[in-house]
Point group: D2
Chain length 145, copies 4
Amino acid sequence: MVEPAVKMGPEELTGFLDKIFPQMHALGRVFFIDEILPNKAVVRLKANDSHLRPGGTVSGPSLMTLVDYAAYVVLLGNMGLQALAVTTNININFLRKANAGDMIATCRILKGGKRLVVMDCEIVREGSDELIAHATATYSMPPAK
Amino acid sequence: MVEPAVKMGPEELTGFLDKIFPQMHALGRVFFIDEILPNKAVVRLKANDSHLRPGGTVSGPSLMTLVDYAAYVVLLGNMGLQALAVTTNININFLRKANAGDMIATCRILKGGKRLVVMDCEIVREGSDELIAHATATYSMPPAK
Amino acid sequence: MVEPAVKMGPEELTGFLDKIFPQMHALGRVFFIDEILPNKAVVRLKANDSHLRPGGTVSGPSLMTLVDYAAYVVLLGNMGLQALAVTTNININFLRKANAGDMIATCRILKGGKRLVVMDCEIVREGSDELIAHATATYSMPPAK
Amino acid sequence: MVEPAVKMGPEELTGFLDKIFPQMHALGRVFFIDEILPNKAVVRLKANDSHLRPGGTVSGPSLMTLVDYAAYVVLLGNMGLQALAVTTNININFLRKANAGDMIATCRILKGGKRLVVMDCEIVREGSDELIAHATATYSMPPAK
């Protein structure tokens, strides 16, 4: 198991991610890193009209993008800047209708190996503890030099 | 098994989807329905700079959005306009680096039940037959009235 | 959300499951229900030689069988005897080598709907808190009469 | 992509697997390799009473065991005897009630990488082309020496 030591804070990591994923903010900044903890991180999607489906529901792709971003945050925040880590699998269960509002993803590392890192993420709407979605994500780490 | 009869063509379905998901085209139209066939559909993402990650790779969330859209196309195209069908699960394996270009998703219905519809989708880059990603998607159908 | 009220205890449920799945004990009894709690259950696989792969590792199919059994236990223990509930999806990540010993699965209900029940399960080896495997399981409930 | 060259035939591979998984036949031989083809294999489960659930349905764990075995067959048959390859993920959708009979799994390699091999498997009942189950399986390959 990788040492669960936080390698950097939200501000430093936001700066790094802004540089490599500038297009995430093409329609305005909506993703925010709330916390980076040992083997864990909390990331927020401030869902606006562009994320809504008919009936005022936050869309599935918006939640999947949140999972991908949040999983990358917990990985980089705990294992250092590994821009070359690549997602190999995401499995997401959509559990409840996501009404408009802030979506909070809490991701944790289930296994931090040298080659594969597996995480799970729970998404709730701010102010509720009912799960909107649950996902697992696997990243492949670049070979050590 | 639901009758595998095509219920509408690409133009009619594009018109319907434009109305319910107008925000999909917020940055310009990038999703196109190539074909609707019995139990099957082919959908294209014309990936542009806004979909690329460092190194010129089409991003994971862009491919997940393509899966979600394409699975909905095969479902509606074959089962009629069910705006109330909701995604319950997406599982996606990212298999190869997706270089910039048109991403082609071919989705088919594995099981078209009254309550659940399960599909799989293969994504290739136009002009290649190597799989970029493989996904399964499950939709829950609204109760019959 | 289904009321998280425990409907029956380990002994009563073991008796029911023994009747409908007698073949699970064809090689001796290896599955045991430790606890049934609100929206949760703990189930044990006493892995013996018949579950081991070369190198003394508990096999993947043994762990998948444990997930299927444990998910069914949490579902029946909390929602009553629904012999007609059927598994629609299992997704399992194998995280660490499972050395011989008791495998403990803790499953909880993420969403207890009228039509779909989604659970996740964590498997550890007794005496350790490192995850051996993590799974999600979805069951489809029979239509209410 | 790994060269899609068949490395050995069903008999040779059956002999190898019998040695490393002797306990698979504890209740009699039920798994049979029908064919090994480039990037593909066909494996049969002769389901007997020990695999049935109430109502005469082949159990989920029996089908998951078939997937795990068949995925290993396509991997070894095409990439050579890699006893150290380990399953990292299996995702299975159960699509239709599996009536008693021979279950035929056809697995193919979607991506044969140096570190990860991803496969999908379709299971039908002999004599039918309706899918009973669809699965994806990922194996991690041992580091090259």
